[in-house]
């Protein structure tokens, strides 16, 4: 099955009548196989809503999500999700967290162990295999969360502000790690962030979203060669351009928030 994701006229309305909020309004985009796509926008435009729709958690009000031409109706391990809050199972140690998906898929124990060994080593977790999540730093936890979905080798990775809670240095390390994994395994990645710099550093393509109703404001391709130098002229030119777009939406969000509108 192709790992191309098609978002076709996706709309999502929360609530009914006067209090109805349009989180997504007729969004269409095609994410080709192997593309690293960042969804960039301020808080409150429903970026998690769109990602959850692609993951199969949230049904759309109208429109359709298709993967490899087939409509998405439910969550599945072919679209591995990494959550901002890690969502590791605290009662399982690192190894068991990584193995869990393989257990679910009924992979024989010996084969699963081979996969776990490989993935754990790839993410530099070999020394932490028997630790429980509570004994790991935020960066380590997010490595485990990435390892957990990589174990199932999903063609698509969905990442909901995965590095949002990490300090700047850990964040950069994990961004590099993610790029390395992405180029090695050639996944399709949809990555939600509100950090302009993160989007430019990572993405092949950036969709700038508007605040409520959520629409695509700008669809642009980042063709700076990797590894990207965040201090370079072209990087900062792009950063300035995106900042203008994003801040306009952030101001709409802020004034809406001051007037008491609900936030996602």
């Amino acid at each position: 099955m192709s790992a191309q994701i098609e978002i076709a006229n996706a709309s999502k309305v929360f609530g009914t009548g006067a209090s109805a909020v349009s989180a997504l309004d007729d969004i269409s985009a095609t994410v080709p196989e192997g593309q690293f796509l960042c969804l960039l926008g301020p808080s409150g435009w429903g970026k998690s809503t769109l990602l959850n729709a692609v993951a199969g958690f949230t049904p759309l009000s109208a429109g359709q999500i298709r993967m490899g031409g087939r409509p998405v109706t439910e969550p599945g391990p072919d679209r591995g999700m990494v959550f901002q809050e890690y969502a590791l199972f605290p009662w399982m140690n690192v190894e068991d967290n990584v193995r869990f998906g393989l257990d679910i898929q009924g992979v024989p124990r010996a084969d699963a162990t081979v996969t776990v060994d490989r993935i754990v080593a790839t993410l530099g977790l070999s020394d932490f295999r028997k630790r429980y999540p509570k004994d790991l730093s935020g960066g380590m936890r997010q490595r485990v969360a990435i390892a957990r979905i990589l174990a199932l080798d999903p063609p698509v990775m969905l990442m909901d502000e995965p590095f949002g809670a990490l300090d700047a240095l850990t964040r950069r390390t994990l961004q590099d790690e993610l790029l390395r994994i992405w180029s090695e395994y050639r996944k399709t990645v949809i990555f939600v962030t509100h950090s302009i710099e993160e989007a430019i550093y990572l993405a092949d393509r950036i969709l700038v979203m508007t605040y409520r109703p959520g629409r695509i404001k700008r669809d642009l391709t980042v063709d700076i060669p990797r590894p990207r130098d965040t201090a370079s002229g072209e990087f900062n030119a792009l950063k300035r351009e995106l900042a203008g777009l994003v801040m306009a939406e952030q101001q709409r969000f802020t004034s809406a928030e001051l007037h008491g509108a609900a936030v996602d």
Partner: protein, 267 residues
């Protein structure tokens, strides 16, 4: 040093009590001196007959004293009643916690029954089960049932939806979800309920033994009252305290081991 400091107050009280008792301030029936209690307690601990390898094994003889016999009887009742009560409460709680419909049906009844102390069931327990072990076990099981049930329901209902979403994303079916996500996520609550439950069971066993049976620590201190043996009453209370401490300590060790992954146990 800190441990020693903690012993100052109890020791001072014991000395004061001993002095006042010996000085004849209280009659030995009202408050016997601690030394008398200790002697009585120790004599209850020892086997009544000399060891005879021909008739019994060594360990059987060691525990043949009146107090070990009573302590084992009480502990046996607590464990049996607890197993029955928790054994019914955990599955029931998992069911009510998972199904909103069942919860809606049974929760009002539960809220009415829950505040009735198990002790209030004593008359009914005797009417239903007569005297002897059955009413005692019924009361202990009842005392265990509600705390475990209520905690299990709460544990299942509060499972963080992020774990459910993560497991669904990995393709978990309902059975895997239940067994490997909901059950472990609820386990801190279930174990907390069990700890409360065994505490209640221990209170109930003493009361039940005062009424329905003819051995056990509860029976023994009531029997001692018939003869005004206050030293034996206090000695029995001491044993009850020690036994309770051992049970709670064991539960707490078990908790620490089973919940070694839990954030709340970070030290």
């Amino acid at each position: 040093m800190h441990r020693l400091r903690g012993a100052i107050v109890p020791l001072a009280l014991l000395v004061l009590w001993e002095i006042l008792s010996r000085a004849g301030v209280f009659s030995p029936i009202v408050l016997p001196p601690p030394s008398a209690v200790a002697v009585k307690w120790y004599s209850g601990l020892l086997p009544g007959l000399p060891y005879d390898p021909a008739t019994e094994s060594y360990w059987h003889w060691v525990f043949s004293g009146e107090m070990p016999h009573d302590a084992i009887a009480s502990l046996g009742r607590v464990i049996m009643g607890f197993c029955v009560g928790a054994g019914l409460a955990v599955p029931a709680g998992l069911l009510l916690g998972t199904s909103d419909r069942l919860y809606g049906l049974f929760n009002p009844l539960l809220q009415i029954l829950r505040p009735i102390p198990p002790i209030a069931y004593i008359p009914l327990a005797i009417v239903w089960f007569g005297l002897g072990n059955p009413p005692a076990l019924f009361l202990i099981a009842l005392g265990t049932f509600f705390p475990v049930l209520v905690n299990t329901i709460a544990g299942v209902r509060q499972v963080d939806s992020i774990y459910i979403r993560a497991a669904r994303n990995l393709g978990a079916n309902s059975w895997t979800m239940f067994r490997r996500v909901i059950l472990p996520a609820a386990s801190p609550f279930v174990l907390a309920g069990m700890r409360i439950g065994i505490g209640t069971a221990f209170i109930v066993v003493i009361v039940a033994e005062m009424i329905a049976v003819s051995d056990g620590l509860g029976y023994r201190i009531l029997e001692a009252r018939e003869y005004m043996w206050s030293d034996k009453i206090i000695g029995g209370m001491l044993t009850i305290g020690i036994l309770g401490l051992i049970i709670d300590g064991a539960m707490s060790r078990l908790n620490d081991h089973l919940l070694r992954w839990h954030r709340g146990l970070e030290r």
